[in-house]
Structures are given as structure tokens and as C-alpha cells.
Amino acid sequence: MGKPKERRILYENIDAPDMHTLDVYRRHGGYASLEKLFDLNAEQLLDIVRDSGLRGRGGAGVSAGFKWNLMGQGEPKYLIANADESEPGTFSNRYILQHKPHMLIEGMIIAAWSLGVHKAYVYVRGEFTLGKKRLDAAIQEAYEAGILGESVAGHDFALDIYTHAGAGAYICGEETGLIESLEGKRGQPRVKPPFFPAAIGVFMQPTMVHNVETLSNLPYIINNGTEWYQSLGAVYKDTPRGVDPMNTGTKLYCVSGHVEKPGVYEVEMGLTVRELVELAGGVRGGNEVKAVIPGGSSAPVLTPYELDVPVDFTCLQMAKTMLGSGGIIVMDETTCTVRALENLMDFYAHESCGQCTPCRVGTPWTRDIVARIEAGKGRPGDVDHLIEVANNVANIDTFTWNTICVFGIAVSWPAVSFARKFRPEFEAHIEQGKCVTLPVSEAVAPPEENYAWPQELPEVERKPTWDY
């Protein structure tokens, strides 16, 4: 069994010159799936996607097949590619837009054909100016080549794709916030129930919202078949109720922070946090790892005790954190965890849409408490106070939230996990009345008190061997 190594599927040839153009994309096998696609009907495609085990790459990790099955019956239906990639620490979609936009278009054609959609949108993060330019050009090329438009690739199927630039709000990455924004309203998430997009989505019609990465997987699943896709990644057995054991395929891990070679790594799921850090060249200057955020900044943080957790949907969920968007932020021994949390909380306080009470008030409140501790003005009891306020927004222990959308979780989980797992460092700030960076061994609270991990791993049914 080899060491974990990159396996480029989505990112294959992403560095090839002019890969963003139709010619080059085609020369590298692009749009091949369209030849098979139109021989398959909706049920067959649903089976393929469900059997492949493909899970949404945007954050929640919902099975794509499960989601397709929920799609409502009304006409027209819509498809939205969520390219509002704004989770701190996440940057894999950006490269797809910039360097392989045709892959997204191809994936969207597959989803649209399967779901009976004739109008699709790409909601592009406003800051992605180059990505949007390239995507727009790619869509234009696709229209000119007859891949989009009245008859897609010569078949009796019409599909139009429109791009829409966001205006810089994090919350517009939440699917119903995105839909509101797309409709030209304030980007405020809708209440679920009743507004599940698959039933009542954009313009009150059934809508499928997928992350760019999820859609980009579809051409390869169609090309190579479900068996091939199932053979990638890790599958577990006997997981607890509510924990999906499927982690098939590769994942685009965005490794950032204190590693030697930050960047996007496409690896089959199943490797551990430690292995991923090694793959990214290890911690800078041979330093010790202090903290790792495993799935974008809203995921609860992991400590050095938890580095052997596999970075996949199943195991991270069991470790009471999440794979989320795959943004891995590595922090070494020089990091002050209070300062790190303040930075995150500042972001969330700024980005809360302000619609519902707990998040609108709770988010800046937690920020203020953390900022006070960091500034040396913490008071005894502040750590518990912080945990209580954050838990009142969304409770990590009971997995409930009092907010309209899961933004509440994005605020509460990092706050509570940082405060619990790095409690000694927080307390040191309060006691000494100033910012102190403790050595890793002192900064981390002992695992038995506060974490879900280490615990027994679910039994592995299949894991990648990396024999290539």
C-alpha cells in the first residue's frame, strides 16, 4: 500500500495552456460524455448518480442522487451552479472557473438533461472576475459550437446557461440566500420548510442547486461508469444512524496556512489529516501543528490529538466536525488560537445577514467577547460565557440551531470548539491580561474532557491503496 498521493481527475490537465478554451478542452477529452449522455434517460442517470455515491461538495455533503430524487415536478425547473465560493480557506472552484470552465458546463448539461432543466444559472462570486470572464467566454464558445442553445450537441434538447455575479456576500453561498439574490432581492436565506429549493426554489419553481465541484464530477462518472467511481475513495461499514458511509471519488482539498506548499490537492478520500499535511509539504519550518480546521472556517477545529482522523465526510462527522467545503487551514505552534478565532468571528460578524435574531445579535456578541479576551480585557468566566452565547445561536452538542439557516452553525461551532479545545490558552489570556501564545502541549485541553475524537473508527469497507 502506497503513501497517499494526488490523483487528478477534475484537475487533470488543469495547467495545460489554454485549457479554458473549447479546443484545448476537447483535445483533452472534453465533452466526450455528451456522446453517451443522450442515450440515457432520467431514471438511468438518477441510478448512475445514486450508485456512484457522489456527495455534494459544497458543505453539507448530501448525496447528489438523494437530492435529485427530491426534485419537484413543476415546470419550468431550474439548475443553479453555486460558484459563490466564499468560505474562508476554500479556493478549488476558482481554479475550475479560471482554467477548466468547460468541465462545469459539461457537468451542467448532464444534470440539466437528467432533471429536465432548460434554464440554468451559474452564480459566480463577485470577486472572481477572471473566472467569470473565462466562464462567460466558455459559454459563448459552447453556444457557437452548438453545445448550448436550442439543440444541445445536435440533440432535441434546449439548454441556456446564464451567469450571475454575486455582490460579495458570504451568505449568498447558502442555497436559498443565493436564490433570493439571484431573484434580485436581499441575500437572505429562506425558511425551510417550506422553501426547500428542490420543491420551491428560484422564481418559486423546483430548483437544483449544486456546487461547482459536484457538477464537475458528473462528466467523469458518465465517461467511466459508476463502478470506476465507486472504486475511488473510502466506504465504511456499520456507521451510526444518520451518518452516510459513502466517500467515493476524489476531493479537492484546499490546503492553506502554515504548510510548505499550500494549494489545491486532489486526492481520493480516505487519507488522514496528518497525511494531507504531509502531502502539502509538512508544516512550515518543521514546526509543530497546533490546530487544523478541516472543512472551511465554519468547521470545528481539530487539535494535534486528532490528526489521525480521515479527512472524509463520514469520519469528520463522527469527530463532530465536518468536511464542509474541503478548506483545510493548518496553524502551527506560533499561532495564537484566540487571535485566530477572533479573526474568524470578525468575518462572521461582518457577514451575518441580520435576518434572524440569534445570528444577528449572537455573532457580533461572540466576536466582541473573543476580541475582549484577545485584547487582555477578559474576565473570569468569559470562556464559559462565550460557549453559552455561541451555543444559544446553535448548539453543537445537540446538533440544533435556533436560526433560519446553518450560518448559525458556522458561527457557533468554531467558537465553541476553539474555546473548549484550546481552553488553557484562552484562560491564560484572561489570567495574564494580555495575548500569550502557549506551546502546543500547554495550549490544548486534554482530549478526554472535550472531544468526540479519538474514538473507534467505523469499520472500513474499502479504502484507496494509492498503488499508482
Binding site: V191, S352, G354, C356, R372
Partner: protein, 546 residues
């Protein structure tokens, strides 16, 4: 009907209503701020969280659910008192109060504030917020409404009102997150005829009426149900008064008439009632001036004059601002006392068109009881000018402040040999009068108006008569008796019953039959059975509408 179980007890409630409404139906309060039955449920305040067990489910669902967005279903189980429900509500209040100022002692809303009430019932007894509070500035949203921005809890009821009910969308939400602020665009203030309603729907003291600001603590007000007199719609209202003066008028819920709303013409159109110029004493003209006199003197001279000039030559002018009961008494005065067919109707303005908002209509006819007058007097009713044409004397019931007195009418009035007026304010009319009797404003009346949809609705006497003023029905009866008739009424209710038994159109509309929802003289026939009606919110209104 749906069977639901709430806190272990079984209830039957209407189908298809929200859990908040269902709870109100059975007398249970589920606290909420953003939800309003006529403005939808954005579920943003997170105050109405309940523990929900869907029909047939083995246990409650993990997440708490908002009661405002949940429709009742048969077999649904609701916990309104589970520990985690109580905790969620308490923490929501903690969040709402974090930035809320403690200015209850000077806040207009104190006493009728849902933040106070729910904090008292569901909240913590102390604040744990130690950070810096947001202090956004107070601002004027328009000619009628001010915003104390610090007090705002961003429930967005006002935003939705201007979008959905009044349609101008003047109020919006600016900024984001904790800096959310309600505001209007710089060049587009909140200036429409429904603007006052946003003050009523504000669950806290953020939106205040400039008219009422700092005028009285709400708990000193006496509140009486009544009907607005500013147009033929007949909006249900509460007259809130203090020490003999009207302090404010506010809408009272009626499913079929005005929902929860009223227009600013009605809401702010009460100032004349409080006017210091109001007529208080009967007066007779002596040497060109109106000199206060006793009722007996006035009635005797009036009877003498009318008899001398001849009953048929005397016009009786009645007013479209009088109640059914007053109109009926005047009818009897004309027929049994004066003995004339010269009966005219004096009326306020009628505009060319209704003012139509997306979900509210201000009617064009600015007379609250034209329908009543037409039904009671029937075909014999002339216009005031027609009835006065060629008359020698007149008994003129006015009572319409600012009513148009055109030249044709004034010429006929000045040509009269004797003019007796019953009015509430000095005007050209009383200037021309030989005798002026003080009447009552609508807040002082007992009786009913009949609105344009033929619904008989009750006014209650919110204020005492001013000075020596007599109710118009009483004055009409006294005058008729001075002229030899025999009319014995002791109360307006007696007239209501008399009217119901003698005028066919009012059949059945006896005093007992007219409740606070009114009495429909004509059942609606258009639309038929298939007509879908919105769920009615009487139970909600009685619990949550102040």
C-alpha cells in the same frame, strides 16, 4: 377541524391555520414578533419556537420549529412548555434585549409593548450582555411617523406592510447584520394615507406616531370600540381618550371590513373633537348675536316659529354623519312633529374615485352613514338645497366639520325667515342661524352607522357630551314633542329596536342582534358558495392586537 395535542391536552382547532393562530383559538399565547396573519411569516424573530411531533412520528423532531410557519395538522403534537422551548425563547429575548435601550420610562409603547410583556413572561431576569450597545440615531420616516432606531428589533413587519398592504415599499432594511436599520430612501419619505398603521404593527416602541408621541402613557387611556366616521367604509376602531379628550384612534380588527388597518384620514382626523371652539350651550340670536339660552327657551321659540311659518314650509335637513338612530328620530320629527315633506340630506364631500391600495381601499364617499339615511328615509329624501328651495324655515342638522357650504345652499339659508341649526362647531351655518343647538361628535354618540356594504356597526360613547349638548336623537324627540308629537325614547337602543320593527330594510337589526362584528342587512350574494375566504383572525386579534 383538526385535532391537536398541545402540552398534553387535546384541542379542536380550525384547519389550515398556523400553530400561533390555533393556540390563540384555544386561549394559549405563543409569543412572536415578526409574524402577523396579514403580513406573513418570515420566521426571523425566532420567538415562536415550539417542539413539534408530526402526526404519527415516534417523537419530537430534533430541531425546534417556528409555530408561525407550521400549519396545524390532524394528530399533531405541540409542546409549548418543554424546557428547551422555554430556554430557546429566553435566549431569543436575551439577544433581542442585548442592544435594546432601557428607556421604557420614556417610551410611548411601554405598557403595550410585546418586548416588555414577553420579557416578563418568558425572559431572564437579568442581562448578561457586557459588550458595547449599538446606538443608531432616531429619525423621521415621514410626516406622521418617527423611528427610535435603538428600540427596533428588525422584525420587518413595517417593511412588509409597505410592500404588501400600502404598496409604496417606502420602508426598507438598510445595512447588514447587527447594523441592520429600518429606513426610508432620502427622497422618498413614508408619506401615504396608510402610514399610521406601521406604528400599530410595530411590536416595540420603535415606530411611533408623531401625533401621539409623549401625549399620554397608554395605561391612562380609556379605550372604547367604535366606528370611524371618515368614509363610507366604516373601519372598526378604538377611541382612546383621556380626561374628556380623544388621545388617539386606532384600528380594531374586522375580518370583512378593514382587517387590521385604517387610513390616516380617519386616524388623525379627530382633532375637531378636541377643539376648544366646540359648541357647548344652546344659543338664540338676539340683536344679531348668538346669546346662550336654556333648552326650554330654545325649544319653545323654535316650536312657535315653525308653527307660525307653517310645518309644510319648514325644511328638515338631516346629515349623512348621523347615526341610524338619530336619523330615525329626525324622520319622526319631520313626519310627526313638523309635518313636512321637505326632507333633505346634508353631506360631506364625495370624491371622484376610491383610493385603492394593494390590500386596502379608502372609499370615495366621505360620509359614514349615507346608506343608513337612504334606507331610513327612502325615496322621499332630497338634497339639502332641493328641500330648502322656497322654504320659510328650517331645522338643520349639521355636524360635519369643514363640510362644503356652497353659494346655492348659503343663498337659500339666508333667504329663510327662521333657521335652527344643530351643530358641533361654529361655521357659516351657525352664523346664519337664528337658534343654534349644540350637537355631538361621533365619539360622543351612541348608535350605529350603516356602511356602504350595508353592515350596521355600533359606535360606543367614548366621551361625555360637551356642556349642555344633547344627543341629536334626544333633541329631535324634544322638538317633535314641543310641536305636539308624542315620542318617548329613553335610550338609543330603544330607537334601534323601533327602527328594526318599522323600517323593512332594518328587519332583524335589533339592538341585541348587533354585536361588535356588526349586523349585515344584506347577505353577500355574489360569488356563491365556492368563494374562498381568507381565514379569519378574530381569536388572534383578541389576543395579540392592541
Amino acid at each position: 377541524m383538526a385535532k391537536i395535542i398541545m402540552d398534553g391536552q387535546e384541542y379542536e382547532v380550525s384547519d389550515g391555520i398556523s400553530v400561533v393562530q390555533a393556540a390563540a383559538e384555544v386561549g394559549v399565547t405563543i409569543p412572536h414578533y415578526c409574524y402577523h396573519p396579514s403580513l406573513g411569516a418570515p420566521a426571523n424573530c425566532r420567538m415562536c419556537l415550539i417542539e413539534l411531533t408530526p402526526p404519527g412520528a415516534p417523537g419530537p423532531i430534533r430541531q425546534l420549529t417556528t409555530a408561525c410557519t407550521t400549519r396545524v395538522g390532524d394528530g399533531m403534537e405541540i409542546s409549548n412548555s418543554a424546557p428547551r422551548v422555554k430556554q430557546a425563547r429566553a435566549t431569543t429575548l436575551q439577544f433581542l434585549l442585548a442592544h435594546h435601550p432601557l428607556d421604557c420610562p420614556t417610551c410611548d409603547e411601554a405598557g403595550e409593548c410585546f418586548l416588555q410583556d414577553y420579557a416578563y413572561e418568558f425572559g431572564h431576569d437579568r442581562s448578561v450582555y457586557q459588550e458595547i450597545k449599538n446606538v443608531p440615531p432616531r429619525k423621521s420616516l415621514g410626516p406622521t411617523v418617527d423611528l427610535f432606531t435603538t428600540r427596533c428589533i428588525v422584525c420587518t413587519r413595517c417593511v412588509r406592510f409597505t410592500e404588501e398592504i400600502s404598496g409604496g415599499a417606502e420602508i426598507g432594511l438598510m445595512h447588514r447584520g447587527v447594523h441592520d436599520e429600518i429606513d426610508v430612501a432620502p427622497d422618498k419619505p413614508l408619506d401615504n394615507k396608510l402610514s399610521g398603521n406601521v406604528v400599530d404593527i410595530c411590536p416595540v416602541g420603535a415606530l411611533v406616531s408623531k401625533d401621539f408621541l409623549y401625549r399620554s402613557r397608554p395605561w391612562f387611556l380609556t379605550k372604547k370600540p367604535s366606528v370611524c366616521n371618515r368614509c363610507s367604509k366604516g373601519c372598526n376602531i378604538h377611541v382612546e381618550s383621556r380626561e374628556g379628550e380623544v388621545a388617539r384612534l386606532r384600528p380594531r380588527y374586522h375580518a370583512d371590513v378593514n382587517d387590521f388597518w385604517m387610513c390616516d384620514d380617519g386616524r388623525f382626523g379627530y382633532e375637531y373633537v378636541n377643539s376648544p371652539d366646540r359648541l357647548r350651550l344652546p344659543a338664540l340670536r338676539k340683536d344679531g348675536e348668538l346669546i346662550p339660552a336654556g333648552w326650554r327657551e330654545l325649544l319653545e321659540t323654535a316650536a312657535e316659529k315653525i308653527q307660525a311659518l307653517g310645518g309644510e314650509q319648514t325644511a328638515v335637513i338631516t346629515s349623512a354623519w348621523m347615526t341610524n338612530e338619530e336619523l330615525y328620530a329626525v324622520k319622526r320629527l319631520a313626519e310627526e312633529g313638523v309635518g313636512t315633506e321637505r326632507i333633505g340630506l346634508f353631506e360631506g364631500p364625495v370624491e371622484d374615485e376610491d383610493e385603492v391600495f394593494p390590500k386596502f381601499v379608502i372609499e370615495r364617499d366621505k360620509n359614514p352613514n349615507r346608506a343608513g339615511a337612504e334606507l331610513i328615509f327612502g325615496d322621499g329624501l332630497k338634497t339639502a338645497a332641493e328641500a330648502l328651495d322656497g322654504a320659510k324655515a328650517a331645522v338643520f342638522f349639521g355636524g360635519i366639520p369643514g363640510a362644503p357650504l356652497d353659494d346655492a345652499l348659503m343663498d337659500r339659508l339666508t333667504a329663510l325667515e327662521y333657521l335652527l341649526t344643530v351643530d358641533i362647531l361654529p361655521s357659516a351655518l351657525t352664523e346664519a342661524a337664528d337658534a343654534a343647538a349644540p350637537g355631538t361628535a361621533f365619539t360622543e354618540k351612541e348608535g350605529c352607522f350603516t356602511n356602504s356594504a350595508k353592515r350596521v356597526q355600533r359606535l360606543s360613547k367614548a366621551l361625555p357630551n360637551l356642556g349642555n349638548a344633547l344627543a341629536e336623537w334626544q333633541f329631535a324627540a324634544y322638538l317633535a314633542n314641543a310641536l305636539g308629537a308624542n315620542i318617548e325614547y329613553e335610550s338609543a337602543a330603544q330607537i334601534t329596536d323601533d327602527l328594526a320593527s318599522t323600517v323593512a330594510a332594518f328587519h332583524g337589526a335589533v339592538d341585541e342582534a348587533i354585536d361588535w362584528r356588526g349586523f349585515c342587512l344584506e347577505e353577500k350574494t355574489d360569488g356563491g358558495e365556492a368563494e374562498e375566504t381568507a381565514p379569519e383572525n378574530w381569536a388572534y386579534a383578541s389576543r395579540f392586537w392592541r
